[in-house]
Symmetry: C2
């Protein structure tokens, strides 16, 4: 489905290079782009075989993750409204030698700028090329944050911090599985379960089926510091 | 010290965008750049306060690492002859939100293109901007490789692989401390020492003061697979 007036307007607002494009380049983006809807759990991008293009998120949430040979997933970062998925166009960047997967977490509306269209811009517009570097820098920073957490921060702190972050989105009763938490903080499910039980004995959380209730936020916060 | 004829020639060969620069831009690089020599152990770049510019390595070896609050170091990647340090100019990229440190491992000869000179090129030359993205992608790939090692590969494999890599540079007798290995594979010194002792009992290495002798390379290789 080609993009409508409202979506064109959205691209103009979100893409900082829009005003620097020639009339012809703007036309190429308008005519070449398409609306794409993703239901929760559906895949936007799946490793190196996939190279649809740049997804601009209108509304929703996308999780980027890596996958081990044994199928273990680790979340790298999450993208929200007005964010841009660059690795879904990674085939245009010859020095990217890793595979990222992306999955919609909520109902997600996007605009797809296909790889040939974006590549053309990146190779011909200085503003677009600078923007590509900027997005890469931003994702690089996300991954470095994760790496530092994993290397330097003890697991109890990471878990406490993660629970507090989740609660700032959805309140003190978290509907989240131990598996999902494990993915997000880069460890195994068993390790999360064990640590949550410890948190429960310390009165910081109450565990029940499919739910984690934060019962002592102050204590969690002081642990996370 | 400004750069000489030979160094100018080197920049022309190493920087793929050289031919795309205007005569004026080429002049700015030639006049603005400087030779910089670093002895083993000396620091090229130290976190966010530092922003000298792009170092182009003529000859030598540079280690990029991150540092925890408690002073623990983790090696991110290493740069060799004809490589380029981009994070020593990271202040010009506004979305870089992490601190990298860089240290010469051997006698290292570099040419420094100062940040104001490189920024000017990056903002005005499409070829340079594309090159910046390319270097970022390449370093990003290095860090993703490290992250995957740490998350997905067990420590015995990582250590075996690292010993084999070291031996391909300097032969079977490795002059390397347990501390250095720990930094490079992202763990603590004690953990490396314990695992090396296990390797010794398995006949794969022989440990002596300041040296690790690989006594069964085949066995190490099959472990690393």
């Amino acid at each position: 489905m080609p993009i409508n007036e409202r979506e064109q307007e959205f691209l103009k607002q979100v893409l900082p290079f829009w005003g620097e494009l020639t009339a012809e380049q703007q036309r190429a983006v308008k005519n070449g782009s398409a609306s794409r809807h993703f239901s929760p759990g559906s895949v936007l991008h799946s490793g190196p075989g996939d190279c649809a293009g740049l997804f601009v998120i209108i509304k929703g949430q996308v999780r980027a993750y890596i996958l081990s040979d044994s199928g273990r997933e680790i979340t790298l970062y999450r993208l929200f409204d007005r964010d841009v998925c660059i690795f879904s166009a990674s085939c245009m960047m010859k020095d990217i030698r890793f595979d990222v997967h992306m999955q919609a977490v909520e109902e997600t509306e996007t605009i797809l700028i296909p790889t040939p269209v974006y590549r053309e811009l990146d190779q011909n517009s200085l503003a677009v090329s600078n923007y590509t570097s900027q997005i890469l820098s931003s994702r690089f920073s996300d991954v470095m944050w994760l790496l530092e957490q994993i290397l330097f921060m003890s697991l109890d702190k990471r878990l406490a911090l993660h629970l507090i972050e989740l609660s700032s989105i959805s309140g003190n009763r978290l509907k989240v599985t131990h598996e999902e938490i494990a993915r997000d903080i880069g460890t195994a499910r068993e390790v999360v379960t064990r640590m949550l039980k410890y948190f429960q004995t310390e009165g910081m959380v109450k565990l029940s089926r499919g739910e984690i209730n934060l019962t002592d936020r102050k204590k969690l916060e002081s642990l996370a510091k």
